[in-house]
Assembly symmetry: C2
Homo-oligomer: 196 residues x 2
DNA sequence: TAAAAAAAACATAATAGTCGGTATGTTTAA
DNA sequence: TTAAACATACCGACTATTATGTTTTTTTTA
């Protein structure tokens, strides 16, 4: 792996563990085995690094996951379940085999959303991406005559998305209940409601 | 107002605006019109201050809101709608008339949850408190023969809570859609599902 | 009830340490 | 020979905190 990627990956791991502001450039340097000069050759600032890291390891991953599930063969219900569990579930760091706890990732994301306009923009874009995905799945299900047509699919998609996103936050608040259980239970109820 | 309360209120405002770590003691001192000695007379450290502020201005407020809505006369549906809108909606700083944007409050809360075990504990407790409230409302509705009985009320309450909490996060992600609209739409769908 | 003592409520000054960032030097590859 | 890819040394600004001094209020005592 080249130096820049190494810096980004090690920083990402540190950010997840301690949060952005609580990781100093010294720590980043040590973890990446590089000196100050080396770091500033690749990045203009610590902030630039954070934005790059979040774009690469979070949003790229999120959006490519949605893309994959779009091509995924399965029932609409399976697709809905899979997309969110893929994102939330056992995220994996590229190349290495380390698993990431989504909860810490979410907290890092919130930190970025608060501090940087560009991350906030990416965040919004991702949710529109997810919303469109859910709506397409619903439209597909309606075409297959599985899903009710009396409610506008965008509104239904919004309802479903809200519930799925809530699952994440509840997982942070009440971690003792496994995410899979909560997700399965929620999707089952949603499914009862949206199917004919 | 006494000095300690003044420090806490001014700090809370600063924390909401910039986040905890980005507010220095110097800023707190200036805003509260106090010196270093004065500050450290009332608080052991900056961290102690944050915990005190979050306990007082967030969790006290949250939990007392739930208590109020418990006594609130109204239909189960109104109660559900009111409790979350009261918490999320136009929160108000004690004494002063300044309105708080819940989104910034949520981000501050996440910062605290990440950094301090005690805040994380309060956070979990609050969500159990909310869950119990929702379940009681549902049980009440079932007793009035409004709400279906074929699903366990705890599971139904969990489903509803997840959706409500998701509403908050969606509001952060997609702020252009007003929280009231989203909440009303979601509650209507939930209601269709849980009523007989 | 006035003086004395004690405690509370601050104010001032200083400190050690860390922070992100810069300027410049050196090595390596094209 | 030139530019990329680093390394070294350094810096001023700022950080939370401490130690100590001063003022104000409360309590105790004569």
């Amino acid at each position: 792996m080249d130096t820049k990627s190494r810096i980004m990956e090690e920083s990402f791991k540190l950010f997840l563990k301690k949060g952005f502001v609580d990781v100093s450039l010294n720590e980043i340097r040590k973890a990446s085995n590089i000196t100050t000069g080396g770091f500033y050759y690749h990045f203009d600032s610590k902030d630039t690094l954070l934005v790059a890291v979040i774009e690469k390891y979070i949003f790229n991953y999120f959006n490519s996951t949605i893309r994959q599930i779009r091509d995924f063969e399965g029932t609409p219900k399976e697709k809905l379940k899979t997309v969110i569990l893929s994102i939330i579930g056992e995220t994996q760091l590229s190349e290495s085999s380390e698993k990431i706890d989504y909860r810490t990732l979410h907290l890092l994301l919130m930190e970025g959303v608060k501090k940087y306009e560009i991350i906030s923009k990416h965040y919004t874009e991702f949710y529109y991406n997810l919303l469109n995905f859910i709506r397409d799945v619903l439209d597909d299900g309606a075409a297959q005559d599985i899903i009710r047509r009396d409610i506008d699919s965008t509104e239904l998609a919004t309802f479903i998305q809200t519930s799925m996103v809530g699952t994440v936050l509840m997982w942070i608040a009440m971690p003792e209940m496994p995410i899979e259980n909560r997700m399965n239970s929620n999707i089952d109820h949603l499914w009862n409601y949206i199917t004919k």
